[in-house]
């Protein structure tokens, strides 16, 4: 059995037929070719698959594609526009602060932190670490990720190196 899904993804409306058991992560990657969303553990632990549904970060491996019917989903592909070659300030800050190595965890972290954009300037390092607690990174040791997030929260171009208190 397949079901009809009508969902807005990165501002574009998609109407598709899917099996109810299709996970949102697989729908994004396999049906729509949006492979920026990474899949690590498929049981909610690693955070690599984090996307925003109606503005809130959630695990796309724990959401069924059919559940997003009538909702709006944002993935990492929405952060920058490949046409004009400009990255999102958070992405710029990750770049400038060497906040990724293999990059597997990065899309999930970006979609988690981007939802907090309005609060970043006020967030302490402890609050940033708490916000990151649901995203595992095996490479960086998190330190440069925190620096990047701090830099993104500072006024300016996000190129500065956020200090680690």
């Amino acid at each position: 059995m397949t079901m009809h899904v009508d969902v807005e993804i990165n501002g574009v409306r998609h109407r598709r037929e899917v099996e109810p058991r299709t996970l949102l992560s697989d729908f994004l990657r396999h049906d729509l070719g949006l492979t920026g969303t990474h899949v690590g553990c498929e049981h909610g632990v690693c955070g690599a698959c984090t996307v925003q549904v109606d503005g809130r970060p959630v695990r796309s491996c724990l959401v069924l594609a059919v559940q997003t019917h009538g909702r709006s989903v944002r993935t990492v592909e929405d952060l920058s526009d490949p046409e004009d070659d400009v990255m999102h300030p958070l992405q710029e800050a990750f770049h400038a602060n060497h906040a990724l190595q293999c990059g597997f965890c990065t899309p999930g972290i970006l979609m988690t932190i981007e939802a907090l954009s309005a609060d970043l300037a006020e967030m302490s390092d402890a609050a940033i670490l708490e916000a990151l607690s649901g995203n595992l990174c095996r490479c960086t040791g998190y330190r440069n990720i925190v620096c990047a997030i701090r830099a993104a929260g500072e006024p300016g171009d996000g190129e500065g190196t956020g200090s680690w208190a």
């Binding site: 109810p20 058991r21 498929e42 909610g44 970060p57």
Partner: protein, 296 residues
């Protein structure tokens, strides 16, 4: 790691849900934060998933006659950010932050956590400590079950497979109350190794009139420590009173042992958390009385 096939339906009202779950092998899907991992591992293979997140009547947080009514599909995030809960039921506010991570709390629901009844989960213990009432919709009308009769065993509750938990009701807490929640987990966001939820009530002269001490990780279901509570009632909640109560409470504890901690280790951390939690709750109860006197 992909679910086995199933059918899916998303009713928009409670009677639609009850009709759907009357079918054999149907399973309710709320936030999916416990059920979808089980589907992915194929530990659960329902024939039909009944998504209740589109039932508007199941998602609310409101105070009626001093009591808090929480719709079962209210997310952990909604509870966490509710000023109403923060002000009147701080125990729930404090505990909910310990659930998983923000991404889990954005999807997971209070009803799902209680229906799932993981022995290490925060909310079952909080409901026990607050003497919550669970409203359950069945094919033949509603029934109400107090928290103390709701949790039956490891992942077992009073809910039958064709029943729907619709609402959780928390009683009014009078002036002079103090609460504390603490837990120990290996990593931030993990399920707790052990935890303690405390809700104290004091009279105008500082005597403890009621006490609830609920323990996580002390058995297959969250437990109320009646030994501790009886020692506290009638006392002035001094550190000495509390130490005595913790000692007698720990004698009767038989926590499980596993990879993450021995029974003895769990008993020790439960004792330390009870002592600290009760001391903090007693201070808050005093502050609550003073704040109230001051306001008058």
């Amino acid at each position: 790691m992909k679910p086995a096939p199933f059918d899916y339906i998303a009713p928009t009202d409670i009677s639609g849900v009850l009709d759907a779950v009357a079918v054999e092998d149907a399973k309710i899907l709320a936030g999916g934060q416990s059920l979808v991992p089980m589907l992915n591992f194929r530990l659960a293979r329902p024939a039909l998933l009944v998504d209740i997140t589109r039932v508007h009547d199941l998602r609310h947080l409101r105070r009626v006659d001093g009591r808090l009514h929480i719709g079962a599909v209210t997310t952990h995030t909604d509870v966490e950010h509710s000023p109403l809960v923060r002000e009147h039921w701080p125990l729930l506010s404090d505990a909910v932050r310990h659930i998983g991570h923000s991404q889990i709390r954005n999807a997971g629901t209070i009803g799902g956590s209680l229906a799932h009844a993981d022995p290490a989960a925060e909310l079952p213990a909080v409901m026990l400590a607050l003497d919550a009432q669970m409203t359950i919709a069945t094919g033949s009308g509603n029934r109400t079950v107090p928290a103390r009769d709701f949790f039956h065993g490891y992942l077992q509750t009073a809910l039958a497979p064709d029943e729907l938990l619709t609402e959780i009701v928390l009683p009014h807490l009078p002036t002079g109350s103090g609460a504390d929640f603490s837990e120990i987990a290996r990593r931030s966001g993990d399920f707790a190794l052990a935890g303690v939820a405390v809700q104290l009530q004091t009279s105008t002269d500082g005597i403890c009139t009621s006490a609830a001490v609920a323990l996580i990780g002390a058995g297959p279901v969250p437990l109320r420590s009646h030994a501790a509570e009886q020692r506290l009632i009638g006392s002035e909640l001094t550190s000495g009173d509390i130490a005595e109560c913790v000692q007698s409470a720990c004698l009767g504890l038989n926590p499980p042992a596993d990879l993450h901690g021995s029974a003895d280790y769990r008993r020790r951390i439960l004792a330390a958390q009870m002592q600290a939690g009760l001391e903090r709750a007693a201070m808050l109860a005093t502050a609550d009385r003073r704040g109230h006197d001051h306001a008058r």
